[in-house]
Symmetry: C2
Subunit: 435 residues, 2 copies
Amino acid sequence: MSSGGRGGTEAIAAVATGATSVSDVAAACLGKVHELDPSIGAFRAIDEEKVRSRARELDDRITGPLHGLVVGVKDVIDTADLPTAYGSPLFEDHRPSADAAIVAALRRAGALVLGKTESTEFAMFEPTRTRNPVDRRRTPGGSSSGSAAAVAAGMVPVALGTQTAGSVIRPAAYCGVYGFKPARGWASTEGIWLLSDQLDTVGLFARCVADLLLLYRALRLAAAGSQTGVPADLAPRTRARPAVLVLPAREWGSWEPEVGDALDFAASRLSDSGWEIRETRMPRSWRQLPEQHAVVMAVEVAKNLHAALGDRVGKISESAQAIVERGDRCSAREYLAALAARDEARTALGPLSVAAGLVLAPSALGVAPEGLAFTGDPVMCRPWTLLGLPAANIPAYRRDDGLPVGVQLVGLAGDDLSYLADLASAEAVLTPKED
Amino acid sequence: MSSGGRGGTEAIAAVATGATSVSDVAAACLGKVHELDPSIGAFRAIDEEKVRSRARELDDRITGPLHGLVVGVKDVIDTADLPTAYGSPLFEDHRPSADAAIVAALRRAGALVLGKTESTEFAMFEPTRTRNPVDRRRTPGGSSSGSAAAVAAGMVPVALGTQTAGSVIRPAAYCGVYGFKPARGWASTEGIWLLSDQLDTVGLFARCVADLLLLYRALRLAAAGSQTGVPADLAPRTRARPAVLVLPAREWGSWEPEVGDALDFAASRLSDSGWEIRETRMPRSWRQLPEQHAVVMAVEVAKNLHAALGDRVGKISESAQAIVERGDRCSAREYLAALAARDEARTALGPLSVAAGLVLAPSALGVAPEGLAFTGDPVMCRPWTLLGLPAANIPAYRRDDGLPVGVQLVGLAGDDLSYLADLASAEAVLTPKED
C-alpha cells in the first residue's frame, strides 16, 4: 500500500535482529496516528503513556512470537486498560474489568495493543465518525470501521475486527486492505460484545497475507497455551495452484459495473498464471442465504440486546431498534427454518469442493458509498458468514478514480490454514509487492 | 412383578447354560401374548413366523451378548421387517426401508425383536387402544403405552420406548415397572420419528434394574461397534450408599395424596437402610421448567411435523394440531428464552450435586387415570427431560387398591453408568426380589 507504514512481519524481523526496538516501532505508529488520525478518526482511545511504557517493558524481555507487532483492537472487544464503549453512547465511560480472551492471547503472544479502533454502534449499522483513508468524503464501511481505516492508513500493520454479517470483508474492500474472516469458531469470542451466537467471528486486517498468517497462527498458538512448538495442524501448508470457481452471485444483489471489472481482472490474472478458473452457477439452496442470514441475525441480536440492555433498548439508534423489532416479530418456526436452510445449503459444499477449493465472489456491491451516513450493504458477505467458511477480501483492483474494489476469496473446505496458503498464492498473483 | 414372565438376565443365562433355547424363550413370550394381549392391546404388529425362524437362526449361532433376550420395540422406531405407523393412521401401512440405528444395535447385540408396541399418535397425547395390565379400565399412560404394558404383563422382559416429555417414566409409573430415560444423547435417534431435536431420547422398560443395565450396556457397546471388550467407561461401577435429595416439586403440579405417601415410603425405607436423605427446596431457576419445556417441544414439534407431513398436518388429531399451532404461534425470542432458561437451570446442578448425587421426586401426579381417553399429565417429567438428566421410575409403592405409584430417581451428575449403579442399590432397598 502506498499509504502504508512498515508491515508487521517486517517490524518483527527488524526488532529481532536489533535493527530497531519495540519502542521505536510503537513511536512510528504513534507518529502516523498524530499525522493522519485527526482527519480519519480511526482510533477511539489511545493511552500514549501506557503504550510507551509497555513498549519499554517489551524491549526488556521477549514474551512471544509477536514481539514487535503493534495492533489496533476494535472497540467491541474488551480491554482492561482502555475504555470499551461497544460503539454506543450508553457505554461511553465503560471500562471492562478484564481483557477479552483474544486480547489476552494477543498479549501472551507478545504483541503491543496501540489502542481501540472505532466501531459502529454494537457492531451494527449506525455509523462512526471514521473516514475512508482513500477518499475522506466516503465511508470506510463498517462495522470494523476504525480497524480497516487504521490499517489502510498505515497507522498499524494489523488490527482485530469482528464479523457478524459483513463487518470485516466489506470495510477491507472499501479501504483497499486484506480483511480475513476465519472459519466460524476459530477463536473464543469471550469478552466481545455478543451480537449473534451463531455468527459472531473474530477477524483480522492487514496489508499483506504474510501478516495475516503470522497473526492468525500466533493467536491460535497463544489460545492453545503454547508459544514454542507449532502443533501439527498449525504447520504452514503448501499447495499446488488451486482451482477457483467464479461465482458472480447476482442472485444476492445487483452490483455496480466495477465489481464485474474486479472479478474479471482477478479471474484473468489468476488464469494467466496457470490457475484453473471456472465460472459456476449458484446452487439453488444458496439463493436465499442473505435473507436466511438476516433472520438468524435479527433473532439473536434481539435476544442478546434485550438481555444486555433491558429497558435501555429504547435508547439505542433507530437502525438498531429496527433490527431488534424484526427479531422480536420473528417466529420460532421462521428462525429454525433459516437454520435448517443453512444446514441444507452446507450439503452443496461437498460436491462443489470436489470441483475446486476456492470460490471467487464479490466483496461488496461497489466502491465505498459517498458520505458517512451509510456504511454500505453487507449482502455479499452474509452467506459466507452464515455458512461459517473462511473468507478474505483481496484488494486486487482499483477503479479508474483510484477507489478500491475488492474481491472475496472463500475457502470451500472450511480449513483456515490450507485456505491461508491458497490466499498467499493468490496474493503473489493479484497484489504482488512493488519493491 | 407377580404378573411377570422370566426376567431378561435370567433368560440369557438359561440359554447360555443350555437349560433352554432362544426358540423356547420366544415361544413363551408368544404364549403370554396370546393369553394376555387380546385384553391389553400392547402389540401393534407381530410376525410370528418370522419370530420363530429368527429364533431358530439364533439357536444355531450366538451373535452377541443379548443372546436369549426378547424385546418389544415402540411403533415410532423404524423396523425394516415390520410395519411402523408412528401411532398415526396416516402411516397405517408404512414399512420403512431400514432399521433405526437403535434396532440395528439391538440385533447386532443378539436380541430378538418380538414385535412393535403401540404408541400414541406420533408419541404425543392422542391415546392408543392399549389398556393398563394392572387395571384394564385405566390408561397405561403414554406415549410408550404398549412397551410399558407389554413389560408389565410379562409378555417381554424388556422393551424400547422414547421420551420427549414424560413418555417413558409416566407409563412405567402407571404400570408398575422400571422405566429408564438415560442422559440426553446416549443413543442415536436416527430412524426414530422426529418430534423434538433437543428432547427426544430413547428409553428402556424392564421389571428389574439388572435387565436395564444389561440392555443399556449392550446397546452402548453395539453402537460403538464392539461386542467383546468392555470400554473403560462402560465398566460396572460400585458406589457407596449415595445421598438423596427429596424434591416434592409441588411447584410443578399438585399431586394426589398417594404421591406423597410413595415419596415418604421410599425416603424412609432408604433412610432406614442408612442412606443419607434430605428434603430440598427447589432452586428458583427450576420453577418454570415445565413451561419452558413445553415451549421448546411445541416449537420443534411444529417444525418437524410441518416438514414431515406438509399439508397432511390438517389430518392429524386435534390434540396434536393444538401443539403444532402453539409452536407456530411461538416467537423466536420465546423459544430462545426457554433454551437460555434451561442453560441457567443447569447451573444449579453443580452446587446441588455437591450435596447429593440423586434427586427423589414424583414420577406422575397420581395413579393411572381412569379410562383410555387421557394418558395422564407428563408435567413431573418435563423438567428432567429438558435438563437431559438420567431418570428412572422405581415401582416402589402401591396404593391400598393395588394401583402402582412410582417415584422418580434422577441422577444429578448426568452420568448414566454411575446412575445405574445407584439405581441398583435403590432397587435392593425399595423393590427387593421376592423369590
